[in-house]
Structure formats: structure tokens, C-alpha cells
Amino acid sequence: MLTYLIRRLFAAAVMLVVIITVVFCIFFLVPKWAGVDIASSFVGKQADPAAVEGVRQKLGLGDPIYVQVWEFFKGIFVGRTYAGGGDTIHCAAPCFGYSFRSEQAIWPVLTDRFPVTLGLALGAAVLWLILGVSAGVLSALKRGSLWDRGAMVVALAGVSLPIYFTGMLSLAIFVFGLHWFSGTYVPFTDNPGKWFTGMILPWVTLAFLYAAMYARITRATMMEILGEDYIRTARAKGLREPVVIRKHAMRSTMTPILTMLGMDLGALIGGAILTESTFNLPGLGREVLLAIRNQDLPVIVGVTLITSLAVLFANLVVDILYAVIDPRVRLT
């Protein structure tokens, strides 16, 4: 178990290095091939050549690509100093780059935005797990009933309706119509109560989409599991039906749901772009959207790296949980 963990962590680290290199190359090399001068795009359209040259020197854009990648890596661990063009900017470790658009280091921006997204993703996940799984189980147990059909129609709607529709609708009704919520984000550290009420609409909106998917998966898995021989064995032992469902069927149903949860959470932590922009939450998703609009490359690279880190981590957790649930999975 411990050796497995160490191996997986090591593999994750290697993976991260590969991801950083690839991401860096995509964002800094491809524009070069496309004939776009990154330095001038950083400075702005009406920049004088001297300023452009300064930025080029600062960022080391004239260096060969491997030197650039190496500088980037070094920055993560020991920090980095951008010198040239008259002034010197220090970016403390861990330095994930420096945005010349907003004149600030990336890392503090990421750590500032990250808790917002994490809170959104985790809160929504709790909600959609409770809603989706219980709706799916009930549907499976009452298949063909009015409840089952109703739930599956709602689930289909949930899967089909985009966030910017359901989100806007809920904003229109509950914020601008009924004035139940304020519609502004309050950080948890400022006022937990207001943070919570402010997050209710985003949570519900995001959870609606995922709960719908989870309900459908749960229903299908549960129905399959209920047909398994070992469920029949459990009944043949004389177990009460609720125990058969809870102890025998639910445990097997959880495995595919867990896999989905790992991937979905990982992806969401990398930025729930639609939800965050709809509800104006200052999270990673909204940050990266702004960065794309401003062509703020270092921010995009930073968020991309955070996303891959989150996906890697979530998958690791899922693999470990998998082994806990299913004894056939050996962690060696």
C-alpha cells in the first residue's frame, strides 16, 4: 500500500513535469511558429520597440526553448527574477510565471482564486451525489413507475440544459425577481454565513447538471447489479430487502460512480468556467476566461497546470478508494 502510494506519487510527479513541458511548449512555441510576437502582444499594440525588447529580455523569449522551460521549472522551486528593459521584477518561489498584463505574479493569483473554485466544486459535488444517487436508486427500485419516468425526464432536462440557461434563469428568479439572494460573492473568511447563502444558487445550478448525469448512471448500474447472482444469494440467505439493497447492491453500485466523481471533480477544480462567469464568482474559471480574453498567456499556463494537478490528484484518490471498496483491486 505504502509502496504503491510512493510509486503513484512519483508517477504523478513525472506526469506533471511532462505536462508542464508540453503546456509551456504549446503556449510559447506555437505562437512563434504562427508568426505572433509574444513580447509585443504582452506590451500592447501601441508599444515602442524598446519596451517590446525589454519584455523579450525579461522573459528570455530570445533564448532557445529548453532554456526557457528550464527557467520556468527553476522558477517554481527557487523563484525567478525578471530583469531587463530598465526595471527588475522579482517573482518569489513558487513562481508559475509573471503576468505583464496585470503586473503581478501568477501564483498569488492562483492561490487567491483556488478556494472559490474548490468551495464551488466540493459543495456542488456533495449536493449532486446526494440528489443524483438517491434519485437513481429510487428510480431503479421503482422502475417503470411514475416516479421513475418523472425523474428520468428531469434528468434528461438536467443533462440537456446548459449552465448559462439554468444559471441565468435561477438568477432572474431568485436574485432579481424574489430578492432571496444578493448575487454577490462573499469570501468564506469574511463571513461564512453570507458565503454560504451566496453559494447556494451556484451549487444548485452546477449540481443540477451533474445530479442528472449521476442519477442516470446510478439507475443503470443499480439495475444491472440487482440482476447479479450474489444479490439473489443475499436474498436466499433470508436477508431483508432493505439490507440487500444497502449492504450488497449499493456497495457495488458505488464503484463506477466513484470513478466518475474523481474525473468530474478534477475537471471542475480546474475551473467551472460557465458557472463562475454566470454567477460572477472570482474563481479559477473566471480568471482563465479573463486571461484568454486578454491573451494573458502566463495566467492560462498557470491555470492549465493547476487543472492537471487537480485531475492527477483526484485520480490518485479514486484509485486508492477503489482498492478500499473492491478487494479485487490490489495496490501493488
Binding site: S145, L226, T233, R235, S252
Partner: protein
């Protein structure tokens, strides 16, 4: 069923309604499943008795209603069937003086596992992959016995030891996938016998196992039956298995019993053409190797459109012998052909005796 001279009673079949003297008695059991294509008559009027300490072998090809019968006795057609169209079950199943089909379902649930237990065909899929063997046996024991986990675990180890699993105190903590096929079936048997059930139903207990392990498992079932004195139903398509175990044999075809009697009678004086077919298609070591097996031609009947008359008539080589096309119009009822021996066939007993001794027996 009041005219005793014509009906079951004259054939040794008791009158319906009254509690029987036999330990297990099934009367006119029908299990029908409504489907989109029509009503599947998996079991369509089956009767038999079984005493404690005796073994009944139910034989027949796939889809003849063997397993459906056993699940019907266990009450597993109605337990936890969600939203599916419910199986339609009629008839009577008397276990130790209790009629199971009209009994309170929760009462039947309490009988399951304690009074009647079941061994399934494939122990790998019949055991929960996420729980240890011990946990599953302990669970089976604690449903019916109010004991703490320690006591139940001791009982589990004891049972594993009894069914011949080496180092039972260690293996009790293994998961099913860590057992070999034969060991898994032993564990399954240990689990079903943990409450000393009086009725044990073994549904194809050796089909999923290696040939080398099959005999061990059959020996085990036989030994345990002697020890516990329970009634056993062995369901199989393998005549070798019933030859090994059964006191009585019931041959099923198309959801009905076509022949029933003591094992040696059914083996040595079978009186139904389908039984002949089963015997003819069984490989035997004492037969000349050049001779070919005699298969039963055709395929099992559709249980939605069971052939009219005798269900076996499309595949029966002797269907044209009885006059007036009676095999295709009238369903034959079980008739006594010897002591405690019944068969359902339109051929006269003399005709069947002659065909058996002259045509069939010499080729076997």
C-alpha cells in the same frame, strides 16, 4: 380434483388443500412470466414429494423449468422483483406443514436460509466479490441466530473446516476471488448449511467446476446430507450427478414432469422417450468407442408456444405410433407405470416396454 378415482390421488398424488404428510410437497406448481412476446410458462403444473433424508434429482435440458422450480420453492420469484412484471405463481408448496405461496412473505423470508437453503451454479458470481467468505457466512448465520460476531465467526470457521477447507481460520478472511473454483463451491455449501437447513436445494452445483472437483463436491453434499439428515433437491442436466446422489428422479420437459420414479427405475427401466433420449446422449465409459452418442433431435420447445398435445411430440421418434394423432392433440398426464414410478406418454406401457428392451437398451 375431487374425483379420486381419476385424479392424482389414484396416482399417489394427494388431494390439494390439506396439509401433507411429506416434508416437502409441491402440488400443481405453475410459474408463468408475462413478457412482451406472450406468457412464458416456465413451470406448468408440477407435483412431487420429498422426505427428509432423501434426495430428489430434477433432470432436464436448459429451459425445462428446473431452476425456476427451485427459485419458486425458495420464494425468490417474488422477493425483490422491482418494477418487472411479476411472475404468476399458483399451486401449493408445503414445507414442513406450512404452505409457502399463501404464507406471509416475511415469514417465508425467515424460512429462507434457515429452513431451506440453496447452492448456486456458479460460486464466483453467487458470492459477493467485496466481502470476505467469513463475512458472508457470518451474515448468513446472524440473520437467523442472535449471536455476537465472535460466536458467528467461530461457527463460520467450524463450517469451513467441516466442508474441507484447509486452514479455515485463515481462509475465513479471504475474498471469494482468492479461492479456487472448488473451494468457492465448498464455501458456498458451508454458507448454505450454516443454519442446519432441513431442505437444501443444489442448483447445478457442479456445472461450473472442473471435472476433478465435481466428484469431491458431490461426495461432500452426500456426506453432509447424511450428517444433517436434510432433504436435498439436486437440479442438473447431468445424469451422472443424479446417478451419484439421488434416491428419486424427476425428469422435466417443457415445464412439466414427464417421468418420475426411484433412481434405479428411471435409469434401468425408463418409460418415457425423452428419458431414453437423455440416457442415449450421455457418454459412458463402458460403451464401444466407435458408437456414436444418440442425441435428442431438435431443440427445446418454446415456453410461450408449447407444442399442443405432448410437448415432446415434435422431437419424439415414436410420435406417430398412437392412433388418431393423439400425441398432437391431447396432453398426456402422468400415469403409473410401476411401483412409485410415473410417466406421461401416449404410448401404451407394453409398447414402451418393448421399444425400451428391443430398440433402446441394447444401444446404450
Amino acid at each position: 380434483m375431487t374425483d379420486l378415482s381419476k385424479t392424482g390421488a389414484a396416482l399417489g398424488e394427494p388431494v390439494s388443500g390439506a396439509a401433507p404428510s411429506a416434508f416437502l410437497e409441491v402440488r400443481d406448481l405453475k410459474v408463468h412470466f408475462p413478457t412482451d412476446d406472450g406468457l412464458v410458462k416456465s413451470v406448468d403444473g408440477l407435483s412431487f414429494q420429498l422426505e427428509k433424508g432423501k434426495t430428489l434429482g430434477i433432470v432436464g435440458e436448459s429451459g425445462s423449468g428446473k431452476s425456476v422450480t427451485s427459485l419458486g420453492i425458495m420464494g425468490l420469484h417474488t422477493a425483490g422483483q422491482y418494477g418487472k412484471r411479476k411472475a404468476q405463481i399458483s399451486g401449493e408448496i408445503w414445507l414442513n406443514g406450512t404452505e409457502l405461496l399463501t404464507a406471509d412473505p416475511d415469514h417465508v423470508r425467515k424460512l429462507r436460509g434457515r429452513e431451506m437453503a440453496m447452492i448456486f451454479q456458479d460460486p464466483l458470481s453467487a458470492l459477493h466479490p467485496y466481502y470476505t467468505i467469513g463475512q458472508q457466512i457470518v451474515e448468513a448465520y446472524r440473520i437467523h441466530h442472535d449471536v455476537d460476531k465472535k460466536t458467528a465467526r467461530r461457527r463460520a470457521v467450524e463450517m469451513l473446516d467441516r466442508v474441507g477447507i484447509p486452514q479455515p481460520d485463515k481462509r475465513v478472511d479471504n475474498y471469494p476471488h482468492e479461492f479456487s473454483g472448488g473451494m468457492r463451491q465448498r464455501a458456498m455449501i458451508a454458507m448454505s448449511l450454516v443454519n442446519n437447513p432441513e431442505l437444501l436445494i443444489a442448483d447445478e452445483p457442479t456445472t461450473a467446476l472442473d471435472v476433478t472437483v465435481q466428484a469431491q463436491i458431490l461426495d461432500l453434499i452426500r456426506d453432509l446430507q447424511k450428517e444433517f439428515g436434510s432433504a436435498v433437491i439436486v437440479i442438473t442436466h447431468d445424469l451422472g450427478v443424479v446417478a451419484e446422489l439421488a434416491d428419486d428422479i424427476l425428469v422435466m420437459y417443457g415445464g412439466r414432469c414427464v417421468e418420475r420414479g426411484p433412481a434405479d427405475k428411471v435409469f434401468y427401466e425408463p418409460r418415457h422417450p425423452y428419458t431414453w433420449g437423455l440416457l442415449g446422449s450421455m457418454p459412458r465409459l463402458d460403451r464401444e468407442q466407435q458408437e456414436r452418442l444418440i442425441p435428442v433431435k431438435g431443440s427445446p420447445p418454446s415456453l410461450i408456444n408449447v407444442p399442443s398435445g405432448c410437448a415432446f411430440n415434435p422431437r419424439c421418434p415414436y410420435a406417430d405410433i398412437p392412433k388418431d394423432d393423439v400425441t398432437r392433440t391431447v396432453r398426456p398426464e402422468l400415469a403409473e407405470v410401476g411401483s412409485r414410478h410415473w410417466a406421461a406418454c401416449h404410448l401404451s406401457t407394453e409398447q414402451r416396454e418393448r421399444i425400451w428392451t428391443e430398440e433402446i437398451a441394447p444401444k446404450l
